[in-house]
């Protein structure tokens, strides 16, 4: 059968190949920071950063219907609603809208709002200057709070878009015992 030298050779090949496999497992994880970095550099990943507005020329000749929407996820028990459902605005005009969050439970939450847009492609033309989605929010037990959002619709918005929807989803930042907390507070609320 295989001689000693070829056994040694085999073992060396084995070591190299195992090394490649381990390296690639690490590479899978390295893709995570790499991905974030690429998104940052190319500006794809700007959900939670204020936008810079360069052109604030108000385009009076066009009107856009802005619709607002908000939801909460993970059966948290909170409610979040926009104080206005829609607004007609001109591109370039400074728009302010308020979202109201109510936490009827006896628990404090950390939450993060994630914006999304309809049509999706319109997102890049919605320039948010101030938003509660830029940071994580701590919401106290039984608290009601108003969150202002300030934004400008970029006049570059393609001409065929007449309605833009801005929707927030409020996610609970999960802590280890959230599920139990949540269930306890829901039980409390029901009783």
């Amino acid at each position: 059968m295989a001689s000693d030298t070829s056994k040694l050779e085999n073992r060396q090949t084995l070591k190299k190949l195992v090394f490649i496999a381990i390296l690639m497992f690490g590479f899978g994880y390295a893709l995570v920071p790499l991905y974030k970095k690429i998104c940052e550099v190319t500006g794809v990943y700007s959900l939670t950063k204020p936008d810079e507005v360069v052109n604030t020329q108000v385009d009076e000749s066009r009107s856009i219907v802005l619709e607002f929407d908000a939801n909460s996820r993970n059966e948290t028990g909170w409610e979040i609603i926009p104080l206005e459902n829609r607004k007609t605005v001109h591109p370039g005009e400074l728009v302010q809208v308020t979202f109201k969050l109510t936490n009827p439970t006896a628990t404090t939450f950390e939450a993060q709002a994630i914006p999304s847009y309809g049509p999706k492609e319109a997102g890049q033309y919605v320039k948010k200057l101030e938003c509660f989605c830029f940071t994580q929010q701590k919401i106290n037990a039984n608290e009601t709070r108003d969150f202002p959002v300030v934004l400008v619709i970029d006049p570059e918005l393609p001409k065929d878009v007449t309605t833009v929807t801005l929707s927030y989803t409020m996610f609970e930042i999960e802590v280890k015992s959230t599920t139990e907390n949540r269930q306890a507070s829901l039980r409390e609320r029901q009783s």
Binding site: N10, T13, L17, I22, M24, G28, L31, V175
Partner: protein
Amino acid sequence: MEAVHDHDHHQPAGLMRYVTTTNHKDIGSMYLWFSFVMFLMGGVMALVIRAELFQPGLQVVQPEFFNQMTTLHGLIMVFGAIMPAFVGFANWQIPMMIGAPDMAFPRMNNWSFWLLPPAGILLAGSLLAPGGAGGVGWTLYAPLTVQQGMGMDMMIFSIHILGMSSIMGSINIVTTILNLRAPGMTMMKMPLFVWTWLITAYLLIAAMPVLAGAVTMTLTDRHFGTHFFNAAGGGDPVMYQHIFWFFGHPEVYIIAIPAFGVISEVIPTFSRKPLFGYASMVYATASIAILSFLVWAHHMYTVGMPVEAQLYYMFATMLIAVPTGVKVFNWIATMWKGSMSFETPMLFAQGFLFLFTIGGFTGLVLALTPVDIQLHDGYYVVAHFHYVMVAGALFAAFAGVYYWLPKWIGRMYDERLGKIHFWLSIIFFNVTFFVQHFLGLAGMPRRIPDYALQFADWNMVSSIGAFGFGFSQIFFLYILLKAIKSGEKAPEKPWDGATTLEWTHLPTPAPYHSFETPPNLKD
């Protein structure tokens, strides 16, 4: 035949022989049988899917169960049926084709195989977990995977084990090919099947760990409070897709390249001519393998990529068609003016050539970003990948089984029945899948248990084809069992055009231990 000795290795009899075996032929057979069992299991799941889709509305199963069926069908066919089948071929054939006595690490080889049954049981057993298996699709996209029951954890562990088995198998294959070739068997004299496996094994070693990483991240997101993909904690589900497809696109070539290898042995044999453009075949295969790591986001045109990225992925993907075209050209040129005969292996090779090329063309159609945005996640995609994976990889596996069966068991299959199996398979395959192109173009989405009325007719046709295809494979099992039990004794060299070592230097059937002293192939 001086290479053959009669050895009396003392080995346990019966079942224990297979548990403890380190013989590449035993292990190859076990891989092939395992793969066939998984193939039938995945096939039954496909028939559950097609039974539900026979008519619009919900008749047979509930939507949750339907989703579990599509998920398990995909995972079982890819990781349980196709991949182990080709590892089975590798085990049987590579040592015999390069003049080696066995695989480089026989004991690890035993482990690679015996990891598979527990993984298969875990995968199929996830159906019995509370809440059932994960109903997330074989791509296991987050954040849906984060919201599933414990069946999902069983699937993740199963993928870990399957991945480990593949990596160990691949390390064994690379080491065998690099270090155990007979004197005179230079790299550029290796049969193309061996070359394709060398390249595939490297792909596996590079790609499987990335999948292992992706499912591990899913697991820690589920249970250990990490937020890789969970948007709530600042994670990003789209990132999952990037990591998955970084593995996923090479994976489709992990499935396709060994199939190319089998076809590259069968076509020259039955054309009685050497393979046309051997060196260009090697380079084409290697360039497909390298390119396959650079095109993954063509599965993600709809996630909202910048247009520059879409353009890059579109052109890079279309570039793969060039080396693939070289291969198809070479196969056709091999047959050109050859003295061809059409025994069953050659029929399946022809079926492969014809249908895989159609699958390649629909791939090119899907590579076009604006077209794909329309067709994505629809039945056109389903048709595309079944042309490349069923008519491609599976037909190549059938060709390989018919081609090497006489060498493995020393008996011939029934040629008439083999031909019937081919015609049943190719007809029912097309009845099932060709019509899915129409459904996809008309807008039918995939992974749904119910559909709009205008899709009813072609779905009924497709379901009829699927049941026909399924029963044709039971017929294949019958052909195999008949050959094993009562097949005619195979002549020493049933295929006069065969030129590789297992046919020229070893008796039929191949002895349990072959090439204990390597053949000398110098000059």
